[in-house]
Symmetry: C2
Subunit: 468 residues, 2 copies
């Protein structure tokens, strides 16, 4: 305080800036302090937050959860068929991105992807029949996360699809993701035309088995070192996976070429994987889920272990609150649109890919990927600032994932729901933008923020478990 | 000046800092101006420089040369055998890195590499016989640059070696480089044991033809877009080529796999190329030479079109002074040594790879490769500062090669020998460090600077041509 009274008294204004303006007009020296009440001013949430901040049980639980996240060693161990590899994904069931949602509530791209999956599975002869089947309740839907899986955008996984199998060497837990189809007309953006279904069939019948054969030759491929290298090569492994996909290719291709498979199969597989800079996205997501699954289920922990969107609702899970989803309306994505499209064409935020941010990558590692700002808007300085701001809401830095632009500091990781509420800083997410109608595809990319309302509910629920 | 006399008089000291210290001790306000006389205080060179700075003929010539450099479009068009593809590399002739040098003067790694090449060519049955042959004058030696070629480190190219063929789509001029052998015991560091020669033989008989076949399928591969992408992925395409090598691999491998070549040949080629993060170095060098060759031979131009070292002498060429080399002793490299080695073990600066810096890449593009500072010593901030300092000695920025860390500014390019002398700032070069004895290999990596003495001579020579 002595500083303030050294010359003559000044004013510090906290909160609404208009108070400061009035005082300034009267000639007073005013310093405006950026502040807003925690928990968005919600009294009940604020009280819950006050009980959880500094609580020894929460601190210890977070330490344990965060250590498990840091120690996880996800490795790509194989490629399988969903119905055989993924728990619970049998019969007429389709897994989708985000929290649970009913057919009629789903956004266009998700409905489109599900109809395509019905054709792929042979449950319907055409899209009309598929839609009648879906409407009639003839298909069971569940979140990918309920099956230990993740999928980008619509995130649709049906029983016959090939899946990457990722295993945490610490404890052996497995998780799964579908395989990336590339850009353009693809199922994850809701496209379901003949070329899409034929590509999916080829992926199931040819690509998946070929990659499975290659992986038997390579043995398990540790994914954290690949991510770490890619972060030094301009990827943040969410919106940009060019380096990581190349690194994976270098590991897989010699084994593929030497697999003894027919040349045309190897050639087509090589061309497909080499031609898709997003190949690694689905593996990045599975690796992140593997690390976060390790942190999940620690009683009392306020660490966020999943963020996922179904295009209508945004949901999060905490380590200490079991499998409950805490949801809010999916936000619109602030970004750059491809020529001819605008915000009015966009579906709400969509996909399980926010699992990368939950694990300290994607938007949290934006400083690693200055070139991405050309794609999502902004400057390289913004990218660094984004990463630095995430430091305020995270439990630590993951030194397995270092960021050259920050002098090799680790990426901020382990979102603490308490800190999100306390600071009002939402987790930032890099993402693609899907057209709201099925089948049109990606129309842009940008940055979005997790809704604070999810964190309010999560903190309530954690407080209820600990202090009820 | 008004600024200086606003309060009370102050002192600006130019040059030796000790004068400023004395004045400061007496209580004076002293501003020390960093300055040293141009041309290292060499009066004759300073006079020559004075005649060339601002000379309309030089400015116009530099504009023309720099535009030709910017406009060049080097593409990888094929792989050939040196004796067939490279002008003048027939008979018992071996090309080497740097300016011309006689057998007895050569450094250990270069002699070792030449002896290995004699075995590869079948000119000798063992190393002793090869050495007698070399000593006796039975082999002709010439710089790679005299054959339109470049090679890293010892840079040895003998007639039966496979070479990358790079063609400038603007004008059709060709240049060449040898192929990268990987790390460890390799000819370019002077190793010449059985495994080295066998690998070179396999490269000549199997790898080269296989890649030639693949390139016939792909057609020409433009190299500037690959370099531009790699600069956004942490490479500076001299000491670090991990991303660029991966990008090249993605272009070549599908064609290789679908070439119809036997599976074991394709498998071995894929494994070799995928296992070598330096594959692209030799292509980066050839692409840079192609761009600089386009700028070469403009009368009056002070633009540097080659910097190259033979381990004993460092040489440069200017666009406006023909094929003359301006030489000085090769400097030692300031860098990080592998465990067990130190500066006393190092050969002098070696290799044609400084062609990358001459073209605005390598050390000039250090800002693109913050991760490299872990390898050569320094911090990411140093990397940015290095790039920025090269702005003082270059003709412009090459916007084909943008640097994310500098908000996508182009890399500084087109070294102006006048500016080097005028500022006393030498071009910086990222490089590997070879052991001074043949066959031991790489013992470190670091940063070195081109000797100013080369630029003094070059400016003299240009002045003599223009003002004699």
């Amino acid at each position: 305080m002595s500083l303030w009274f050294k010359d003559k008294p000044g004013i510090v204004n906290v909160g609404l800036a208009s108070f400061a303006d009035s005082a300034r007009e009267c000639g007073a020296r005013v310093t405006q302090l950026e502040w807003q009440p925690p928990a968005e001013g919600d009294r009940e949430a604020g009280m819950a937050l006050a009980r959880l901040v500094g609580a020894a049980q929460v601190e210890q639980a977070n330490e344990q959860a965060y250590a498990a996240y840091l120690n996880a060693q996800p490795a790509l161990v194989g490629v399988g068929v969903a119905r055989e590899a993924v728990p619970g994904l049998q019969g007429r069931r389709i897994a989708h991105a985000g929290p649970p949602i009913a057919w009629l509530e789903m956004c266009g791209p998700m409905q489109g992807a599900i109809l395509g999956a019905c054709l792929l599975e042979g449950w319907a002869r055409d899209l009309d029949e598929a839609e009648r089947l879906a409407r009639s309740g003839g298909i069971a839907f569940s979140p990918c996360h309920d099956h230990g899986a993740v999928g980008p955008m619509a995130g649709v996984i049906s029983p016959s699809m090939p899946v990457w199998i990722v295993e945490n060497a610490v404890g052996g837990a497995r998780c799964f993701s579908n395989m990336n189809e590339g850009l353009g007309k693809v199922l994850r953006f809701g496209a379901n035309g003949t070329e899409v279904i034929e590509r999916l069939r080829w992926m199931a019948e040819t690509l998946g088995p070929a990659l499975a054969t290659a992986l038997q030759r390579t043995g398990p491929i540790e994914l954290k070192p690949l991510v770490a290298q890619a972060l030094h090569m301009g990827d943040e492994v969410h919106n940009r996976n060019a380096a990581a996909s190349g690194l994976l290719l270098k590991r897989l291709l010699p084994a593929l070429v030497e697999s003894g498979l027919p040349g045309d199969i190897v050639g087509a597989a090589v061309r497909f994987v080499a031609g898709n800079d997003h190949t690694f996205l689905n593996l990045s997501m599975a690796a992140c889920k593997s690390m976060l699954d390790a942190a999940h289920g620690v009683a009392g922990s306020s660490m966020v272990t999943a963020m996922a969107r179904n295009g209508v609702r945004f949901g999060i899970r905490l380590s200490g609150t079991g499998d409950s989803w805490f949801e809010a309306d999916a936000p619109q994505v602030d970004g750059l649109y491809f020529s001819g499209y605008g915000p009015g064409d966009a579906a709400g935020d969509l996909g399980d890919s926010a699992i990368t941010e939950t694990a300290g990558l994607g938007g949290f590692a934006m400083a690693a990927a200055p070139a991405i700002v050309q794609f999502v808007g902004g400057t390289p300085a913004d990218a660094v600032a984004t990463t630095q701001s995430m430091r305020h809401i995270t439990l630590g830095r993951n030194t397995a994932f270092t960021l050259p632009a920050l002098n090799f500091a680790g990426t901020p990781a382990g979102i603490d729901a308490r800190k999100v509420l306390d600071t009002g800083i939402p987790p930032v997410i890099n993402t693609g933008i899907a057209h709201k109608q099925a089948g049109i595809g990606q129309i842009g990319a940008g940055v979005t923020a997790a809704p604070l309302a999810c964190f309010i509910q999560a903190v309530w629920a954690l407080d209820a478990r600990l202090n009820a």
